[in-house]
Amino acid sequence: MKIVDDNPSALTALDRPNSYIGRAVPRPNLRRLTQGRGQYVSDISLPRMAHVAFVRSPHAHARIASIRTERAKKAPGVAAVVTGADLAKIMTPWVGVLTHLKGLKSAPQFPIAVERACWAGEAVCAVVARSRAEAEDACELIEIDYEPLPAVTNAETAADPATPVIHKELGDNICFERTLDAGHVDDALASSDAVVETTFVFGRHTGACNEPRSIVADWNEGEQRLTVYQGTQAPHMMQNLYAKHLGLAEQQVRVLTKDVGGSFGIKVHSYADEMAAVAISKLLRRPVKFVADRIESFVTDIHARDHRIKAKIGVKKDGTITAFEIDDLTGVGPYSVYPRTSGIEANQVVSLVGGPYTTPNYRAKARVVFTNKNVMSQYRAVGHPIAAAVTEGLVELAAAKIGMDPLEIRRRNLYADDAYPATSASGLRFEKLSHHESLAHLDAMMNYAALRSEQKRLREQGIYRGVGFASFIEVTNPSAAFYGVGGARISSQDGATIKLDAQGNIGVHTGVSEQGQGAEAVIAQIAASSFGVPIEKVRVVMGDTDNTPYGGGTWASRATGIGGEAAWQAGKALRANVLALAGAMLQARPDALDIVNGAVVDKGTGNERLSLAELARVAYFRPDTLPPGIQAELVATRHYVPRAWPFAFTNGVQASYLEVDIETGFVKLLKHWCVEDCGTVINPQLVNEQVRGGIVQGIGAALFEQCLYDERGQLLNGNMADYLVPMAAEMPDIEVGHVVSPTSDSELGAKGAGEAGTAGAPACVMNALNDALRPLGATPLTDMPFTPDKILRALGKV
């Protein structure tokens, strides 16, 4: 077994004794999951719980003329049949806009469609029954008269005057537009030695979490309180939404998140059917459960990407990149998703294109239009894979055009490692990045020169291999600049409360949540290190709005950098409290004491003075023995939000090595490498696995995944057999390396690592593919996913 690079080259070990920072500590409580004893929402069953199933629109756009429910209401086991009109009486609609995305507009969306269904798959009626099977039986008995309306399914023509407007009150089908013009793009392009212009296409894809979206909602009429068990990334955000749209106080709503079977951004949004389940519980005054089945997941889980980008790069003979220019178009479905909107991905694309490079000349235009397809919103690495593929695709096409090595052109244009702080052409502010060191590390790790000679030798035997790269930047640790400033009640700050129990253990209550990334382990490592106890003494409590400090949850690679810093500070604060008490008990100066390995020690000698168990015993059970005026405070809470930088940018570089069977157009992935810099590495194994998992999702985008719609707005491959997710046999081994540039915005210096893999993988697979096919004169491939069909066409075989 080879665990690569488990010991990063440089650690800012935050020199506490017995620090767990930077160590590959196994995640606590994993045995629960390996024994099948976790608790996912789909596992939860409550007394008197009923099951909800939805009738969903078969039409992409239709007026709902009538719904006849009589037969369904009489079917065995049925408790209720609920329509959009029923729920509109108890739950207010929502509009997914953010004020800082100027001009972004959307229409009110209801938990169940009222009057009109706007995509194939939108819920139009719900059945509540004793079992899911009986609910589905009754769904078949509901008779709905639809009057089909024209469906807008082509983003290219969605904004044309001749195209019907989906929401008349909005005036047109444009959801959001953004333009940016920095430097002197026209002059720069005119003075270039070569200009490459092409169109990139990114398939629509979806998260395909292994556990579908699931919710159990339990309105207790006696308590006037709603308890929601939900596999969500953002419990406090959901608490706010349920309260707001049911007209409740937030304290009337508790959201509990236990184990979550994958999220990747899919489970950070409101979903109409989940809102409906919550409203139905209130309406029926009983617990109800809704678990999306896989077919429903494909037509309702948010989709993402689906961008068409016309792009241009100018370059000088010496490799200097003179300018980037893009024109982005994306069709996001009939509604902007609430509350994070459907404008962020395009906005990110505009911000991120060209991001690793110093050229000041950049012009961008993005247009987001409404269509009658499933809604789109933020999915892992939002915008990054698109921006990276456009940027890195252009860079390698330009390098090929001027006959320059793809690493060399990067060396000549990447921000120098000593150029920081720096501001990109699009206005992104970089605190400290390490493009060149990362690239050098990658070059060595993959033995680039040897691969090139192998590639050359094999080409002579008719074997076509390619090497491709992608430098990237990643938005992590978002401040309020991401959502809060736009009016969304999405917390960018996060809190941690640490309590010392009577045996000297600590409980860490954190606002971040766990969906498998290892946030629980990271928080435990940080708290153990900062307070001074063995990690076995730490229990982390998360995913419960009643019992954790207000926080944003886990998304946008924020859990470690923000939630972790809060835990670090809370640990320090509790240590100060404990040492103040210990000082009083031991008649010592608190600053001469420390906590090491679960005991109060003399700072100088390390000699144990008092175990934490003994200190807690006295504090809790014999406070009468403490000196007068001493009150033990053995709980501490701290919060943290990045203030100096709107985002903590990370960077990295990936490489892909692959072989194309030029007769069949099939691609075999041979190896993948990534060097990334997420600042202080708290747990190298967890970072590596975030990177690996992310890369494979990116490979899915490059080669396999696409939600295929026909012109009527019907999803053609909405099942696991036809929508191709990456499986083990086709995936490569992946090597991961690190460079460490901590952020000085926090003491820990940690940035996020959750999106890096997904951000760069599609770009470097694309570049490797084009590198493999270049000697054959193939048209460069820029239309993802790269199916055998497209590869064979590029080769002129069909």
Partner: protein, 160 residues
């Protein structure tokens, strides 16, 4: 004809179970709903994801592609059973140590599939491991760490 309940009797993790079930109830729903053995997961219900993998008479099957009524007289083992017997303890250790799981939803099926591979192939190559688990979907890990963990256990068992 209708879906009248059928009484079935079978062994689940060594325990004899007698239940009345609708013919349409799949094995995995039977385990989860009737017996509250929730370690076997429901991911796709059309036989692609492998999250529902359980053992029927010693061999792994898709729990969503079997009906409970078909299991009358059968011996079923789930992740809970093989955990308690200690049969896959080394695989579980390796998965935990190598972080070969993130959300854990695929893990019970992945472990049972890996155990079957190692029963038939003492020293599988990485490619053979990848091929054998190719019917078990994991969205989180990218598979590399899972292959590492299974490979490590194959080597450990080979040394014993």
């Amino acid at each position: 004809m209708n879906g009248r309940n059928v009484e079935i009797s079978l062994t689940v993790n060594g325990e004899t179970v007698t239940e009345s079930v609708e013919p349409r109830r799949t094995l995995v729903d039977f385990l989860r709903e009737n017996l509250a053995l929730t370690g076997s997961h429901v991911g796709c219900e059309h036989g692609v994801c492998g999250a529902c993998t359980v053992r029927l008479n010693g061999e792994i099957v898709r729990g969503c592609l079997m009906l409970a009524v078909q299991c009358n007289g059968a011996k079923i083992e789930t992740i809970e059973g093989v955990s308690d017997s200690g049969e896959v303890a080394d695989l579980q250790d390796a998965f935990e140590k190598r972080n070969a799981l993130q959300c854990g939803f695929c893990t019970p099926g992945m472990l049972l599939t890996a155990q079957e591979l190692l029963a038939h192939n003492k020293a599988p190559s990485r490619d053979a491991i990848r091929e054998h688990i190719s019917g078990n979907y994991c969205r989180c890990t990218g598979y590399h760490s899972i292959v590492d963990a299974i490979e490590a256990v194959a080597q450990q068992r080979g040394r014993r």
